[in-house]
């Protein structure tokens, strides 16, 4: 199992994502200007501030050469996980529905939040038992999810935990095919008991199980 973590100029949580992926498999960094995905089994678009996000979060990153390959990879059914800025990039790229608006508070917010796993059948959540709650940190200034159309919700903020005013407490959504998943909270910051909870590990573990099941099939 080999993860590829895309590195844009301004990515901040790229090494964190790499460390998290390495707990369940191999992980390599993919440079934004290269189209070669190095034969990875899954792609992670990490958090941070790609290209500074001075225009609109993720609006420039979607035009990076690597994103053409990521879109192709996704069309072919490859697993793509977008975390925070990565979620914003996937929405901007049209790989996920909806958009992420500035928080209701108009401020950056860091908070350890509880998430309800709404859909535990996806390739990203299959290691979670149905109805499980995950404790994972969220940290962002534009995390208010909005979609005019019905969407496939994977994670919701637990009651009273919504840090940004997102529609229907949505924290993470998938595409219709189920192989692209974006979430605002940071599962890569919940993989080590020394630095917090380990609930985020189940996302990466789910991806490993999904890829290996597919390879076996």
């Amino acid at each position: 199992m080999k993860f590829g973590i895309v590195r844009f100029p301004g990515s901040c949580d790229d090494i964190d994502a790499q460390l998290a992926c390495e707990r369940v498999g191999e992980a390599v960094l993919l440079w934004h200007a290269d189209r070669d995905l190095q034969g990875v089994d899954a792609v992670v678009i990490p958090g941070g501030f790609s290209y500074g996000d001075y225009l609109r979060a993720g609006a420039i990153a979607r035009f990076a050469p690597v994103m053409e390959s990521v879109a192709e990879f996704a069309r072919e059914g490859g697993l793509v996980l977008g975390i925070c800025n990565g979620f914003q990039v996937l929405c901007e790229a049209g790989l996920l529905p909806g958009a992420l608006l500035p928080n209701v508070s108009l401020r950056f917010v860091f908070r350890q939040v509880r998430l309800e796993v709404v859909d535990s059948e996806t390739p990203f959540t299959r290691a979670c038992e149905p109805g499980r709650t995950l404790s994972i940190p969220a940290k962002h200034a534009s995390g208010r999810y909005f979609s005019p159309e019905p969407v496939d919700v994977v994670l919701r903020y637990a009651p009273g935990e919504n840090p940004n005013g997102s529609q229907d407490d949505i924290a993470g959504v998938r595409n219709a095919a189920g192989n692209v998943f974006g979430l605002m909270p940071h599962p890569e910051h919940a993989v080590d008991p020394l630095t917090g909870s380990v609930d985020g590990l189940s996302i990466f573990e789910s991806m490993r199980v999904s890829v290996e099941a597919r390879v076996a099939a």
Binding site: D53, F110, P137, K139, H189
Partner: protein, 748 residues
């Protein structure tokens, strides 16, 4: 016009007021003329005025700073480099430094605070270290009464978050306090820590005549011109809005690329030396590199990439445009440097070369516009002795009494109401509304986040960890400068002890008023003596720092505010201490001799009592013993919680432990102990299994080890829904939490 050496030095008409407008005194100007043997040209005078400013030359503090101990077994790089570095084992060096950005933040809080963070980050990666954490120390006027202070607080916090969050460096702690004395002069001090393999550490000395001087990063513009002299080295007065153009504008995305690029250049061993561009821009970074390497530098202004056309040579030389670095490269390696920079989309421009002339020679338009010996820029600025005069009427006669805040805190009120009023006050309320705006976890090292423990804890790749704390208490230093300043050092060390950390070194930022005034000079001198004595007693060297003077408005000086950032080491991050009470039934004890006084306390402030002296005396041996006992008990895993007793006394310390653990406590205070009286850095509230607590005060190493036994007084048990101080007060934990949550949130 005058001719010097082989080139023509362009000189403007030497008017009488030219140097005064740039902040130089007549005597200083005369000295320049005497040293040069001629009138300086316009560009030369601009360069000299910056280099001879208080901010760059430390002319009123340099002699004083020599009193601070700077050596210790762990010190790898001490004061004088971009940042000091200590050895943290495993071949790793930890660089750290605190610096002020007070004056820019008072004029433009968002950009002032943001570029304060940006500047201290560059100081750290200039020595080859990857920035791994930021902490901040902030002071504003009374937010409950002052709309301007609320604005400064909100925008400064947003600016710090904007820069730190965007660049991917966690903000792991800090402190913020509110006093009327900061109404006109807010303080924004930022501290950064960085980690490096010791082999990658690099000094700022230029070397090798013929080597190329390469400017990295952003374009040079007209922002920040005169920031170090006009803004940072003078008192504030009327019309400060005019000074807004002297504030720089930050671009964290540019700095993120510059950081990654600089570290890759160092890892590839492509650089001879590296220096950041901070105060006084190209002038100060180039002349300091030349001075440290005992070489000269030729710079061609025409080669400096500019943001706007028509900039004068002096503007190019003193611009404080952000996100720029200067490096020295062997000629054959220049193409390799350019290639790495291109990959990171960083501009790299050769702008000059190293010479053996010992002179800074600046050309523009084919003409020599400055030709100065390096020494005159860096070493020849006059250094002044302070003329301290203890204020008549005592140390506190300079400051008016604080305005009383709340009727709930008068002596007739109940102790429970007093505790709630203290917890709800801006100085003691929960810092969550501030900390929530910062990312504390990026880089995956943070073992203790803000509010979880008295010091932040970061795991190292070696399996060990470091602890860090930043502290200051201006009101107490105003009351009693020597003891107050020493207390700050002890409190930092006590914070480290609470997580199991042993101090390795500290950095300080001395924020004071106008040192040319006798009473400010006295505060400064006393405070430095207090810090020096505390450093000696605790065996903690000062590895670098910063001085910010002239924090003074027509209404008077700020409270004297030395800010200390201290770093320590602990062997096992899994055992890092916490402040929250945990298990019902745990015993609660005071560790250390605790003999507090109401003088200078938060309660005295809320009641509007005038500042007073003296603070309770510091017994160094007793305090050290208490620190050691707590540190060893935390390391042994004996304790459930450890918290130092500071603002608000034992009652507030207990309330904080209860709120953090969401559990009550039943306590009987020792006879005669004032629940709200204060003494900092000397004693702790700890909790743990009763049988475990019994052992922690014993003489370490046995009765003949030479260490005195430490008093450990069991005062109660953890449990129940309320904090009960028998015969004093009883308040539900939910009420404590509610009071504490609201105090600062209301101001933001």
């Amino acid at each position: 016009m005058s001719r010097v050496g082989g080139g023509r030095v362009v000189s403007g008409a030497a008017t009488d007021s030219r140097h005064a407008a740039l902040g130089l005194s007549d005597l200083e100007y005369d000295r320049i003329v005497e040293l040069l043997g001629r009138e300086p040209g316009d560009t030369e005078l601009a360069m000299l005025s910056l280099m001879w400013s208080e901010h760059c030359a430390y002319k009123h503090s340099r002699r004083l700073l020599r009193r601070l101990p700077t050596e210790g077994p762990a010190v790898l790089m001490g004061p004088g480099e971009n940042a000091g570095v200590v050895d943290v084992g495993g071949g790793l060096g930890l660089a750290f430094k605190v610096e002020s950005h007070n004056h820019p933040s008072a004029v433009e809080p968002f950009q002032g605070a943001a570029t304060g963070v940006g500047g201290i980050l560059r100081d750290v990666f200039a020595v080859g270290a990857r920035p791994i954490a930021v902490l901040d120390s902030l002071r504003f006027g009374e937010v409950a009464r002052s709309a301007r202070s609320r604005y400064l607080l909100e925008r400064a916090v947003a600016g710090i978050g904007h820069y730190g969050n965007s660049i991917g460096v966690p903000t792991i702690g800090g402190e913020v306090y509110f006093e009327h004395a900061y109404e006109q002069n807010c303080l924004v001090n930022a501290m950064c820590l960085g980690l490096a393999p010791q082999a990658r550490l690099i000094r700022a000395a230029a070397a090798g005549p013929g080597n190329v001087l390469v400017l990295l990063g952003a374009l040079t513009g007209r922002d920040g011109i005169g920031g170090a002299s006009v803004l940072a080295s003078a008192e504030f007065g009327e019309g400060d809005a005019d000074k807004r153009p002297t504030v720089q504008i930050g671009d964290p995305f540019a700095e993120k690329k510059l950081l990654e690029c600089s570290l890759e250049l160092l890892d590839s061993e492509l650089l001879v030396s590296l220096q950041d561009l901070g105060a006084a821009g190209l002038t100060s970074s180039a002349s300091e590199m030349a001075a440290k390497g005992a070489v000269g530098l030729d710079i061609d202004c025409d080669r400096v990439p500019l943001r706007e056309p028509g900039m004068e040579p002096f503007e190019i030389m003193v611009s404080e445009s952000q996100e720029r670095m200067l490096c020295v490269v062997v000629p054959e390696r220049v193409p390799d440097v350019v290639a790495v920079c291109e990959r990171w989309e960083i501009r790299a421009t050769p702008i000059g070369e190293v010479t053996d002339s010992g002179r800074m020679r600046i050309r523009a338009g084919g003409e020599l516009v400055a030709d100065l010996p390096v020494g005159i820029l860096v070493d020849d600025c006059p250094v002044y002795d302070l003329a301290p005069v203890a204020p008549e009427g005592g140390p506190t006669s300079i400051y008016p009494a604080p305005e009383p805040v709340s009727a709930a805190v008068d002596a007739a009120g109940s102790a429970g109401d007093t505790l709630l009023a203290l917890l709800a006050s801006a100085n003691l309320a929960s810092r969550l509304p501030v900390f929530e705006q910062y990312d504390p976890v990026v880089q995956s090292r943070t073992v203790r986040r803000p509010d979880e423990a008295d010091a932040a804890v970061l795991a190292l790749p070696t399996g060990e960890a470091i602890a860090v704390s930043i502290d200051g208490n201006g009101r107490r230093v105003a009351c009693d400068p020597r003891t107050g300043a020493a207390e700050v050092v002890y409190e930092c060390a006590a914070n480290l002890a609470c997580v199991g950390g042993e101090p390795l070194g500290l950095t300080n930022c001395l924020n004071f008023g106008n040192p040319e005034k006798g009473h400010v000079a006295w505060q400064l001198s006393e405070a430095v003596d207090g810090i020096a004595a505390a450093c000696e007693a605790l065996s903690v060297p000062v590895i670098g720092g910063n001085v910010s003077l002239y924090n003074e408005a027509p209404a008077g000086p700020i409270y004297p505010t030395p800010v200390i950032g201290m770093v320590g080491r602990l062997p096992d991050p899994a055992r890092a201490g916490r402040l929250a009470f945990g298990s019902e039934g745990d015993a609660i004890a005071i560790v250390g001799g605790f003999h507090p006084s109401p003088v200078g306390s938060e309660l005295a402030k809320l009641r509007g009592e005038p500042l007073a002296a003296p603070l309770p005396p510091l017994d160094a041996i007793a305090a050290l013993g208490a620190h050691r006992a707590v540190r060893e008990a935390v390391r042994a895993g004996t304790l459930t919680s450890a918290h130092d007793i500071a603002e608000g006394g034992i009652a507030v310390a207990l309330a904080e432990c209860c709120v953090a653990g969401n559990v009550g406590a039943r306590v009987e205070l020792p006879e005669g102990l004032d629940p709200f009286a204060e003494a900092f850095g000397r004693a702790f509230v700890v909790s743990g299994p009763p049988e475990a607590l019994a052992g922690i005060g014993a003489e370490p190493g046995g009765p003949r080890s030479g260490h005195a036994a430490v008093p450990v007084t069991v005062i109660g048990r953890v449990g129940g829904p309320a904090l009960e101080l028998e015969g004093v007060l009883g308040v539900p934990v939910a009420a404590l939490a509610e009071a504490r949550a609201g105090g600062l949130a209301a101001a933001l």
